[in-house]
């Protein structure tokens, strides 16, 4: 069974849900997509495949963090710094 990895998957889901609160298109939009994405792979049993999917999830976490940072940086730069163009 994939029981030892179940905890990892749940942790990943919780982290993504937490990150999704600030999603620009809305937390609900993000949560629906997240749920369908996780439910699509609910019947996986091969530990290798599950590890790959978890790695993909962690990649998405990094992408979201980068998205939030860039959004904030660009907004502040636009507001506080004169553009020379």
């Amino acid at each position: 069974m994939a029981n030892p990895l179940r905890g990892e998957v749940v942790k990943l889901y919780k982290s993504l849900l937490f990150l999704g609160r600030e999603y620009p298109k809305g937390a609900n939009y993000f949560r629906d997509r997240l749920k369908t994405a996780f439910m699509k792979n609910r019947d996986e049993t091969d530990p290798e495949k599950i590890k790959q999917l978890i790695a993909r999830g962690e990649f998405v976490i990094k992408e979201l963090e980068a998205l939030y940072y860039l959004r904030k940086y660009r907004a502040l730069k636009k507001r506080y710094y004169e553009t020379n163009e």
């Binding site: 942790k11 919780k14 982290s15 937490f18 990150l19 976490i61 963090e65 939030y68 940072y69 959004r71 904030k72 940086y73 907004a75 502040l76 730069k77 507001r79 506080y80 710094y81 004169e82």
Partner: protein
Amino acid sequence: FWSSRCLIGFGPGRFRYTPPTTTFTGITVKPVRLVLRLVLKSLDECSRSAEKKSENMARVLVGVKRVIDYAVKIRVKPDRTGVVTDGVKHSMNPFCEIAVEEAVKLKEKKIVKEVVAVSCGPQQVQETIRTALAMGADRGIHVEVSGKEYESLGPLQVSKIMAALAKKEEAKIVILGKQAIDDDCNQTGQMTAALLDWPQGTFASEVTVDGDKLKVVREIDGGLETIKISLPAVLTADLRLNTPRYATLPNIMKAKKKKIANVKPGDLGVDLTSRVEVLRSQQGATGSSDAREGAVLGRWTNRRNGPNWAFETVAFLAPIPMATGPIQNHDPRPCCV
């Protein structure tokens, strides 16, 4: 009684010891006690001298402010006394996030030993301190200010609090964000340095340690300026200082164990009376700058928050020097107070 049965050492060897005869009790016990005392004393001295020699005794104080989130559209209250803050999403000031990240980076480089996050305000400010703890601060200090006092809390009061705390916590470096995105004052860092009589490195876009001094690259109009300031010092973080890390869920869970101390401004001996009174706020129209009416000066607030911003008319309750000069619409650093 116990002197004749005193145990030397612990563990299996203790039963091998045979107690001395009573005639020698007086002589055998004294050396044991003496030896123990000497050992403990030398250990104590060792640790104390290690502490003195260690350069990692430095502590960093970071000020964080809870402001309306940068992405939220600002609305002025219907009675025009301020900006709507109830039910509006709040978060940590972006420049304060950069300040916290810099402090944590200094700790990771082992230049400082401890990072203390400080915030002033009502109970809700604790979530901002928790975010700072999740980003890597070691402990937090919550200075309780609520109600009327919180509404009139300005850079002068906050800098008095920060100065008092820096002295109390014996901090070597105080790092603040360069300005808050709600009042855009850009004064707290400078005032704190003045009150402590410490050198300041404001608008820092790069900070390096050079011996026992700090080399700070500042972003100024027209370029970059590199200065060398001695410790202790006050730093103000600019946008390009670093990339603040996101406070992820596992880090927030870990941060729940960290302590947040509650302090009252009275305990620090700080007087919070404000010399500034907000007269009215109004939704700003682009391009209006008719503000001056004698001692009444207009002040931009939340000005940089996109197309909706608020314009506060503010009166001074005590004579203070005013920065004179034409008010420019696009001056990022407002020239009042």
